[in-house]
């Protein structure tokens, strides 16, 4: 899928996102990360392990095919291991945004507010 296709794709067709997919899109939206980097970032953010290597790469595989994330070249001069880095594509960012808006609307609804107040 090329970039021009990306511009034309309606992000809403991917919604709703699975929670882990959404999390991966968010984690990769501001900086490229390698596989274990994503796992670590998820732990840093949420305080506990929510992603496992096996399922992470299944998500990466699926979302790469869908054009939501892509791999990027990152210079790793000091590293003994060459790792592949991933980041969210424009389409991915738009999908994440759409999902966030969807969730926001959902969370902003009266019933959700009542639920959160309890």
């Amino acid at each position: 899928m090329s970039n021009s296709d990306n511009m034309l794709t309606d992000p809403r067709q991917f919604l709703p996102l699975a929670p882990q997919d959404f999390q991966v899109l968010l984690l990769l939206s501001d900086q490229p990360l390698h596989g274990y980097g994503v796992v670590k970032a998820s732990v840093d953010e949420l305080g506990k392990a929510t992603l496992e290597l096996g399922s992470l790469y299944r998500i990466v595989s699926r979302m790469t095919k869908a054009g939501l994330i892509e791999d990027v070249q990152v210079d790793q001069p000091d590293s003994k291991r060459q790792r592949r880095y991933y980041r969210t594509t424009d389409l991915g960012r738009r999908v994440a945004r759409a999902e966030a808006l969807r969730l926001q609307a959902l969370l902003g609804s009266e019933r959700a507010l009542v639920l959160l107040e309890d």
Binding site: H34, G35, V39, L53, G54, S55, L56, R58, R81, R84
Partner: protein, 906 residues
């Protein structure tokens, strides 16, 4: 460990569909490595690191298995069903078998704990012993192409049965100039040098080597260079190459150490440091701290009969050890013809051995015996778990029958049982590795000094693969009998039986009896090995060594070579010093001796016996010489058989005298009175020595070696009558004082007498003795542990099978009791069953022990490896243990209440 976990994860990644694997397999592996490294840096201890890696790997494994399965499912959903790969079914079954097995194990924590523990002990002990075998015998020497290195030893024919020993200088030159089989030949000889200024802060064990020796090994210095052939020439200024360890401990790894001159050789020449060898380099073993030139004089070599050089050679490419050996045989035959005076009797022989074998060969037999013994322990653990599984199988019969009835094939059921067993073995193996990590540490801490290459013992990949193999093998082994048994069960009968464990369980009971008999067999073999070794060590303590170790302190003294360069000066030095030590409060006697018993070799010199002509040195007999001051006999409690010891009147200008050992008297003056007879050291120019006394034999080399011929010369006459009075001597001090009190007194006295004489090897004579039999004690302690373990496991086995037999027969016993059989008779019957099973095992075990006894023939001392008393003791102990183990169930049986027993049936 990391390498192993990587391979395991690589294997798991293969379970993913091919496309996925192609795109992300490498990534997944590198991410796993990241995670693993991250986990392991969190622990600072080696053991902790291993555990972290193990838990991370286990966790990741589980998730990878799950993800692989899900990914495959997802892929299949995308594809037409015809493309379903075959192995998916297998993965799914294995997963569900594993899950099911895990649940089953967790449901029976008692069974799981006991079998896991048994297996962990077995696998752990086996792995620990294997790690030692691997480090010492299997890990290659740390040199370039170590297989090409050979040791060269000779026998000149003078003491033809005395084994092979080092070579003389001319012989060494022969090898290096004539032999085509070798590309390089090196010679070496040990010595000590002093580190520090002339106050002698520390003595260092250094190896003098020819210039080509170190380069031949193919390991380059970490710093600087080797010494050059020019520096190895006689008269050249020598240099020194440090080991990494010495560089670290004495120079704190100082990179500017090269060129420093703080080490001095025996004639107090400075030895500039020219090189440092890298970490892990040792030659020939890790007891040598540095290397200096040997400085042989090729133009003027020492005599051909002076065998003091150890020789190592590198075989030319494409030349085998056998080919080199035949060339040596030709060379030896030619030398025998050329120098008949040096090579009498059967003549000169040269022997080549692989260098590794030469270094570690002595410990190979005990190590393999231990490995064999621990293998038996593993087998016993297997049999025990097998037995437990059979018992568990009884309770699962119904479950299996139902699965069978609803369509599971026999093969499918066996597969499931084997999966469960491998799971059990895997868990046991994991714990076993933990046991091995601790066990190896304990072994290393316990190990006697003098075992070569101990530094190479560690749990590495090879050892882990070994323990994995042992675990899998045990899993298959202990699972085999129960699995086949379970799959063969007759469906109809079990369902008909209605959940009971009687009737058709007879076959399984027979199987269990066979297993217990096997256990007893193994236990007999192990216990007799342990028994033989225990008696051998006891014999070593009881053997009459010919001297007493009690209340004797010893130390080695190295007075300055320049200061004491004549015999007179040395004699005066030791006499003066000993007078001061003898004057110390609490000291009974003190003496100086050249070669301390059980702590080192000595010179075997050619002698002339008056009245027996010897035209050449080859015709002259050889005997071992000891030089000592008069009080030596008193200090070490030697026993005088005839005549007198020497005393303070035997001095340089009085008639030369000699005291001989009883074996020496028997050998050279059989059926004669040796007193008054005369002998001298080789060559007519030396004076005759008159035999003035005969002492009881001393076991000098080791407790278990028969005494040789010895002659004792007064130290004060050494330089007049026996070539020289040596400079380095051992002091022996007899005192009622504790070692801790006495040592500082003696040290101060020596320091006050001559502060420049360095002291080394300060220890009690008891310690010397203990160290000399440490090896045998070490093997014995391990065998005893294995033997006790075996006895225990066998008793547990007998107990299990007999209690089970009683439970099977409760009904029958009840009936018999109701019909009037006495409790006593029931007791006897049950005990007899236990006795019969153990007796079969005992007989087989005895046969096995007799067959295996030849392997420990070289290790036992003072008894035959077929010693009847030991075997009787072992049999008695085992039968007692077995009877004890069946007593409890037998008592239970004899108290069966007929009414209760008969009611159970309905």
């Amino acid at each position: 460990m990391p390498a192993l976990s990587d391979r395991w994860v690589e294997f798991l990644i293969r379970l993913f569909p091919e496309d996925f694997r192609h795109d992300y397999g490498a990534d997944l592996l590198s991410a796993f490595k990241d995670q693993r490294d991250d986990a392991s840096v969190r622990s600072r201890m080696e053991l902790g690191k291993h555990l972290k890696v193990a838990t991370t790997t286990t966790k990741v494994s589980w998730h990878l298995l799950k993800s692989a399965l899900e990914e495959r499912r997802a892929e299949n959903a995308r594809r037409p069903p015809a493309f379903q790969p075959r192995n998916e079914h297998m993965i799914r079954t294995t997963m569900s078998d594993l899950k099911y097995g895990l649940r089953g194990l967790l449901k029976q924590p008692g069974f799981t704990a006991i079998s896991t523990l048994t297996l962990a002990l077995g696998v752990g002990a086996c792995t620990a012993i294997f790690s030692v075998v691997n480090g010492i015998l299997l890990t290659p020497l740390p040199y370039l192409s170590p297989d090409q290195l050979v040791s060269v030893r000779v026998n000149s024919g003078i003491d033809a049965d005395g084994g092979f020993y080092g070579t003389s200088e001319p012989e060494f030159w022969d090898f290096s100039s004539v032999a085509r089989s070798f590309v390089d030949v090196g010679a070496m000889s040990g010595t000590e040098v002093t580190l520090g200024d002339s106050t002698g802060v520390r003595r260092i064990r250094v190896l003098r080597t020819t210039a080509g020796t170190l380069p031949m090994l193919g390991v380059n210095p970490e710093l600087g260079r080797f010494f050059t052939p020019e520096e190895d020439l006689p008269g050249a200024a020598p240099t020194i190459v440090l080991s990494y360890g010495l560089w670290q401990t004495e120079f704190a790894g100082d990179p500017n150490v090269l060129g420093r001159t703080v080490i001095f050789d025996v004639i107090e020449q400075p030895l500039p440091i020219v090189g440092v060898m890298p970490a892990g380099f040792e030659f020939p073993d890790d007891t040598w701290e540095a290397w200096i030139p040997l400085s042989l004089n090729r133009e003027d070599p020492w005599a051909r009969n002076n065998h003091y050089l150890d020789v190592v050679a590198r075989l030319a490419p494409e030349i085998s050890l056998e080919e080199a050996q035949s060339e040596m045989n030709v060379l030896a035959a030619r030398s025998t013809t050329d120098y008949p005076e040096y090579y009498p009797g059967p003549g000169y022989r040269i022997r080549l051995d692989g260098f590794h074998e030469r270094i570690a060969g002595d410990v190979a037999t005990p190590l393999f015996v231990l490995l064999g013994a621990v293998g038996f322990v593993v087998l016993m653990a297997c049999v025990n778990v097998s037995n437990l599984l059979l018992a568990r199988g009884e309770t699962r019969k119904r479950e299996i029958a139902i699965r069978n009835a609803v369509g599971a094939s026999g093969r499918r059921l066996t597969q499931q049982l084997i999966t469960e067993n491998l799971l059990l073995a895997g868990v046991g193996g994991l714990f076993g590795i933990a046991v091995a990590l601790v066990g190896t540490k304990v072994l290393l801490a316990m190990a006697p000094s003098g075992i070569p290459r101990l530094g190479h013992v560690r749990i590495d990949g090879a050892v882990l693969v070994f323990s994995l193999l042992v675990s899998v093998a045990t899993g298959l082994l202990f699972g085999l009998v129960p699995a086949v048994q379970a799959a063969r069960s007759e469906l109809q009968e079990i369902l008909k039986e209605g959940g009971g464990a009687r009737g058709s369980s007879r076959t399984s009971h027979t199987l269990r009896r066979i297993l217990v008999a096997i256990q007893v067999t193994l236990a007999v073999v192990l216990a007799s090995g342990a028994g033989l070794m225990l008696r051998s060590v006891r014999n070593m303590y009881d053997v009459d060594t010919g001297f007493s170790t009690e209340n004797v302190l010893t130390l080695r003294l190295n007075p300055s070579a320049t200061k004491y360069d004549t015999g007179e000066l040395r004699v005066a030095f030791y006499e003066g010093l000993l007078d001061q030590i003898k004057a110390l409060p609490g000291v009974n006697s003190a003496s100086a001796v050249f070669s301390l018993p059980l702590a080192g070799g000595t010179n075997n010199w050619s002698i002339l016996v008056e009245g027996r002509e010897a035209a050449t040195i080859g015709d002259a007999p050889a005997a071992r010489v000891q030089l000592c001051t008069p009080e030596y006999f008193e200090t070490l409690g030697l026993t005088l058989l005839r005549g007198r010891f020497f005393d303070e009147n035997d001095v340089a200008d009085s008639p030369p005298v000699v005291v001989i050992s009883e074996t020496m008297a028997r050998t050279h003056w059989p059926n004669e009175d040796p007193l008054g007879k005369r002998m001298k050291v080789w060559d007519e120019s030396w004076p005759w020595l008159e035999v003035i006394g005969v002492v009881k034999d001393v076991r000098h080399r080791s407790v278990d070696q028969e005494p040789r011929t010895w002659w004792y010369v007064p130290y004060s006459q050494g330089y007049v009558s026996a070539y020289y009075s040596p400079r380095n001597m051992n002091l022996t001090v007899h005192s009622e004082l504790e070692l801790e009190q006495l040592a500082p007194l003696v040290r101060n006295t020596i320091g006050g007498f001559d502060a420049s004489a360095p002291i080394s090897r300060l220890q009690s004579m008891d310690q010397v003795f203990a160290r000399s039999i440490n090896g045998a004690r070490f093997v014995t302690v391990l065998l005893a542990i294995f033997g006790l373990l075996a006895l225990f496991l066998a008793s547990v086995g007998v107990y299990g099978v007999i209690s089970y037999a009683v439970s099977l027969r409760t009904h029958e016993i009840g009936l018999r009791r109701a019909l009037g059989e006495s409790g006593k008779s029931v007791l006897g019957n049950v005990l007899r069953e236990g006795f019969v099973v153990s007796m079969i095992g005992v007989i087989l075990g005895l046969l096995g022990s007799l067959f295996l006894s030849r392997f420990i023939e070289t290790m036992v001392f003072g008894i035959a490896p077929t010693d009847p008393l030991t075997y009787t003791g072992v049999v008695a102990a085992l039968l007692a243990a077995a009877t004890g183990a069946s007593l409890l169930p037998a008592l239970r049986a004899s108290r069966v209440d007929p009414m209760v027993a008969l009611r159970i049936e309905n």
